[in-house]
């Protein structure tokens, strides 16, 4: 078990190295930030001065090393656009993104687990068929489209909920549903198939023989056994939600990291973009690492 975890940690470190190189390279290849910072008529000396200021005149490996070692200490440089430290900018925007992701995740779990469990319990029923239809629809609809439709119906036509921005809970409803909708189908299907297998087992039958109530049979005896693949999938879903937040934040003008990175790209604010992509990537890599460790910890077969 310790060996397995050590191996996973090494993988994660290696993945981080590759990611930093890729991010660094892509940003450098996509254009000259120094040129963007000054007007076209400015003299060549001013351009060189700007390059020096941004350390772009140093050898590439040195630039990379400075960036990585400073990032490791939480220093991501200064935003070219806002002229404040990137770390400060990110940390003011992070709570909004987390709030959205957590709300969306709650929506995904509630819907995905409940529908999954009950469509397994009532396999072949109208509920099961309806759930399958829902799953197909959920996966076919891209979330920007869903977001726009929700705004149209609930904000523009019915005028029940605001169409964008952040504030009270009402602002959170539409973006959370938009973001959380996509993975509902997947979670539902994993839950359903996992539960169907468990529900036909002898020990679930024995629970019924003992007179255990149906809710307890489903959520206690059966779910605990089906939970391993479900939990693994559910953790990956959360990682995915952070990524999906870029689009959803854009649709709803939700002032989180996603919106920030979009602004950064438009402004060629390369320090900012580098930092946020790095943040997203390390989130996914270390998230995966955590999922792996969780999986080992929960799986009695690996543990013993």
């Amino acid at each position: 078990m310790g060996r397995f975890i050590a191996q996973r940690i090494l993988h994660a470190i290696f993945a981080m190295f590759v990611i930093t190189v890729v991010i660094f390279g892509t940003v450098r290849l996509s254009g000259d930030p120094a040129r963007m910072m000054i007007s076209d008529e400015a003299p060549h000396e001013q351009y060189l001065e700007m390059r020096r200021l941004l350390l772009l005149d140093r050898p590439i490996p040195e630039q990379y090393w400075r960036w990585v070692s400073q990032a490791a200490q939480g220093d991501f440089g200064t935003s070219l656009r806002y002229q404040i430290p990137v770390s400060e900018l990110v940390s003011t925007r992070l709570p909004a993104t987390l709030e959205l992701a957590v709300a969306a995740y709650g929506f995904t779990l509630l819907l995905g687990l409940t529908i999954g469990v009950y469509s397994a319990a009532f396999r072949g029923s109208a509920l099961d068929a309806g759930a399958r239809l829902l799953a197909v629809m959920g996966q076919a609809a891209p979330n920007f489209w869903l977001g726009i439709m929700l705004v149209l119906v609930f904000a523009v036509w019915l005028n029940w909920l605001p169409s964008g921005g952040r504030g009270e809970w009402r602002h959170l409803v539409l973006p959370a549903i938009t973001l959380g909708w996509g993975p509902v189908a997947g979670l539902m299907r994993i839950t359903r198939s996992s539960m169907i297998e468990v529900l036909s087992s002898d020990y679930v039958r024995l629970a019924r023989v003992k007179g255990v109530g149906e809710t307890s049979v489903l959520w206690k005896h059966a779910f605990k056994n089906g939970a391993l693949p479900i939990l693994t999938f559910a953790s990956l879903v959360f990682l995915g939600l952070i990524r999906g937040s870029v689009i959803v934040e854009t649709v709803f003008f939700w002032p989180g990291i996603g919106l920030l990175v979009l602004e950064g790209v438009n402004n060629r604010d390369f320090q900012l973009v580098q930092a946020i992509i790095l943040l997203f990537s390390s989130w996914v890599i270390f998230g995966n690492l955590l999922v792996d460790i969780l999986y080992v910890y929960l799986n009695p077969k690996i543990k013993h």
Binding site: D202, Y203, R205, L206, K210, G211, V212, K224
Partner: protein, 332 residues
């Protein structure tokens, strides 16, 4: 009948009485009558053997009694009376209150019958918690008592262990402890020793007998092994293709078997000296979706005549308390 006051054995002289039970499954290739008119009874302190080859409908009968047929199936007709109460007419919650309390079951495979994610202490105690409201220290005390009764060594330490930390024989004894935890009136044992080796099997049967002597529980003992019937049961019902084809006291059925299927099963028994060649019955029981029109055993019966393929033989008395459905009862 529902207006009548419920008193023990109000309408029936037997503890458990199954009458003309039919269970039907919907399958892709049509309806399947897995249990097609089964009747038997069992009284307090008694053991009834239900014997037959695999696929004859024994487990489905047991699940029918408990009303735990898979969702693709249903009890099509028939009656199950327990202690004077008609189980087929109870609501789901009334039925839940009976399951695990008045009637319980031990399943065939000890490796799959216990939940891998709960401690055995929890699993042994659960029915007592549900039906008797026992909690905390006194629950633990009862669990330990049961585990000792079924000979689990170091019970105090092992209550917190998970099923995969026990051997097959121990797991089956734990399943037995669960079955008797609420001192039910009827305990259905569905081939509880099939997965065990011979010595452990003998110990297990002994244990069940002891429990029966102490509690007076009625045992419905499902098996395909006539040897176990001889050892455990006062009476026996032989099942073939979803029906009871012969029933009577074990002594009478063994001494004077009437149905050729029973005779064939008895010939599969090893003789005491263990030297004689074991016979087995050629062929297999019919698929419940394609039952032969006449006697269901006819395709495999050495005595079958034209008549046997055309009509089903009535379940008729052979001698006092001994019935069989065969046109030409007796050996060949």
């Amino acid at each position: 009948m529902s207006e009548e006051p419920r008193s023990p054995n109000a309408d029936s002289s037997h503890l458990l009485e199954v009458t003309d039970l039919h269970v039907e499954f919907q399958t892709k290739t049509g309806p399947s009558r897995a249990v097609d008119g089964v009747s038997f009874y069992v009284d307090e302190g008694e053991s009834l053997g239900i014997v037959g080859e695999s696929g004859c409908g024994k487990s489905v009968t047991a699940m029918g009694i408990l009303r735990l047929i898979a969702s693709t199936g249903r009890i099509a007709s028939g009656s199950v009376r327990l202690d004077g109460e008609e189980l087929t007419e109870l609501s789901n919650s009334q039925m839940r209150a009976i399951r695990g309390k008045k009637i319980s079951m031990i399943m065939q495979d000890p490796m799959t019958a216990l939940n891998p994610t709960f401690t055995i202490g929890y699993q042994v105690g659960e029915a007592m918690k549900i039906h008797e409201g026992v909690r905390g220290k006194s629950l633990l005390g009862r669990v330990l008592q049961l585990l000792r009764l079924v000979n689990i060594p170091a019970a105090e330490r092992r209550v917190r262990d998970y099923p995969d930390q026990f051997s097959g024989g121990m797991r089956q004894r734990i399943a037995g402890a669960i079955g008797i935890s609420t001192t039910p009136q009827v305990l259905i044992c569905d081939e509880p020793t099939t997965a065990l080796d011979v010595t452990i099997q003998a110990q297990y049967l002994e244990l069940l007998k002891e429990v029966q002597e102490q509690t007076g529980v009625a045992l419905v003992f499902i098996t395909h092994d006539m040897g176990i019937v001889a050892r455990m049961c006062e009476r026996v019902a032989v099942m073939y293709a979803g029906r009871v084809v012969e029933s009577g006291t074990t002594r009478e059925v063994f001494r004077n078997p009437a149905h050729p299927y029973t005779i064939s099963l008895l010939r599969c028994l090893p003789r005491l000296e263990g030297v004689e060649r074991l016979e087995s019955i050629d062929g297999q029981p019919p698929d419940p979706r394609e039952m032969p029109p006449g006697c269901r055993f006819a395709p495999r019966c050495p005595k079958a005549q034209q008549q046997c393929h055309e009509a089903y033989p009535e379940f008729a008395p052979v001698s006092s308390g001994h019935h069989a459905s065969c046109f030409f009862p007796g050996g060949w």
